[in-house]
Symmetry: C2
Subunit: 336 residues, 2 copies
Amino acid sequence: MPNSNLQAKEIRFASCPQGEPSQENFTLTTVDLPELQPGEVLVRNSFFSIDPYMRGRMNEGKSYILPFALGKALDGAAVGQVVQSRDSGFPPSAWVLSFCGWRDYFVSQASQLRKIDATQAPPSAYLGVLGATGLTAWVGLNDVARIKEKETVFISAAAGAVGSVACQLAKLYGCQVIASAGSAAKVAFLKNQLHVDYAYNYRESEPLRQLEIAAPDGLHVYFDNTAGPQLEAALGVMRNHGRIVMCGAIAGYNAPSPGPKNLHQVIIRRLRLQGLLVADHLHRMPAFLDEMIPLLRAGKVLHQETVVDGIEKAPDAFISLLQSGDAHIGKLVIHV
Amino acid sequence: MPNSNLQAKEIRFASCPQGEPSQENFTLTTVDLPELQPGEVLVRNSFFSIDPYMRGRMNEGKSYILPFALGKALDGAAVGQVVQSRDSGFPPSAWVLSFCGWRDYFVSQASQLRKIDATQAPPSAYLGVLGATGLTAWVGLNDVARIKEKETVFISAAAGAVGSVACQLAKLYGCQVIASAGSAAKVAFLKNQLHVDYAYNYRESEPLRQLEIAAPDGLHVYFDNTAGPQLEAALGVMRNHGRIVMCGAIAGYNAPSPGPKNLHQVIIRRLRLQGLLVADHLHRMPAFLDEMIPLLRAGKVLHQETVVDGIEKAPDAFISLLQSGDAHIGKLVIHV
């Protein structure tokens, strides 16, 4: 039975992109919301997350997580407030984290939601530095790379959502941090706001040469958010027994990129390359928040985000994010 | 002072090969041996080892181990008997393992040698199934892949020195073993003598298709001795959280091969790829021998070797080994 009071706007997945996504792959639609059943709540989203990994969910065929369903609303992480409730644990005005992004209102089983503490940090931080993004950086450094003080770490897409948290944590852990990004503004952000030890624009300089300058003794860890030429460059300067966190491959999301020509360095230098999907590590969220919330409140970690206003702007923001332009620094969120 | 009694033959590294090595990269020379000093022994080699990894030592520039020195004798693992001794711990006729291959006689500090027990196994086995070769297979499965019973394992270059031991151990550990090799004779050996579950000739069939048939539920472990197309095929069928032991890259030893186009599968399937050089794992030799000698003596592991007679045949045997032809099954050794 429809909830006669309310309609919701949602962005649907209209067609699979070939190469770069475009507006025609998305449709903005209005739907009637159902009456609440016992145990359900109505949530008004305040912010939802736009992430590079979503490109992988737009491909035909098998993907590592459920692909987006054609003709249905897209989804992803979102924070919002309960508006109507039939679950006493989630009263109106409670802040909740859901996986119901790309829409303004939605009805959900309360049990599918996680309450967040908006007194500890701005709600949108739970999509970024305190969310899956921050957890990815934290797990990548701690659990996958098992990073140690004084190690030299290279982080690509370093001004992005995951990269910007990884840079800051690695600095706090006492590491030497080398960071790459795709614009002068991002490089300035890395140097002046994240205080990395060395930052460069990979579009304007040869990655291998930059790494040779920045890390004459080689890299202990490479936190790879791009794959492609930056991975190849890192393989050329890894130290023996170095670790590579394979976290993202944005260089090849719109079109497959060739593999590194020097993968045999994995043998020669006895490297460990390990793939990271944060979905495997959600059990680490409490330990992560215990460390991260105090750092954020003390101002030792910056919550850097780019906010785009208006649900209807989400497709363009996503398209632009994959082009890795100058528009976004830190976490990209849509303000509904 | 020369030992007036004796001269030695040795094969020297004459020039760096471009691409495939050829006879002109080697010279057979006769040298005078010095008089024994206290603590030294004179050894007569019986067998020395010829291994694909030696191709990497013939390149100009940095390598993971000391490159061969131009104009000097090549080296590598060898077994032989003490002929003259000025060290009471190494009496004449004692069997010893050395790194002084590619020559017939040599003088060495006794402390540089390891005694082997020729009553437990034929001496040449200490170059193969009981040597660095066998240790590589054992460490790769146990310490790197951390293999478990009932897992599905794919092993490339499976009829080679390392691969043939890895196949047998994986079968003994209760795994399903898929093996590839480059000739019909090798495939027959894998099926009929090593009793693997599935074997195919990678030159005559499409590796990805073969793996899809042999492992419809995917691979837990890939023991990679080749890199190249077989690595790319394995990446296409790995199970989530699968492990790839990066042990050899024979497909690219004579010329660099392109990297796999699907390396992003490392993220999607959360794989762990880890490089293995046996030199890092020599401390595991005692534990390895404790397991391996009883298996060998009980006939549960076959010591498969191809013996080439005559030190002067070593260059041709090495050149042919890299071509992965039909001539060699198991460990290749030169009988001096």
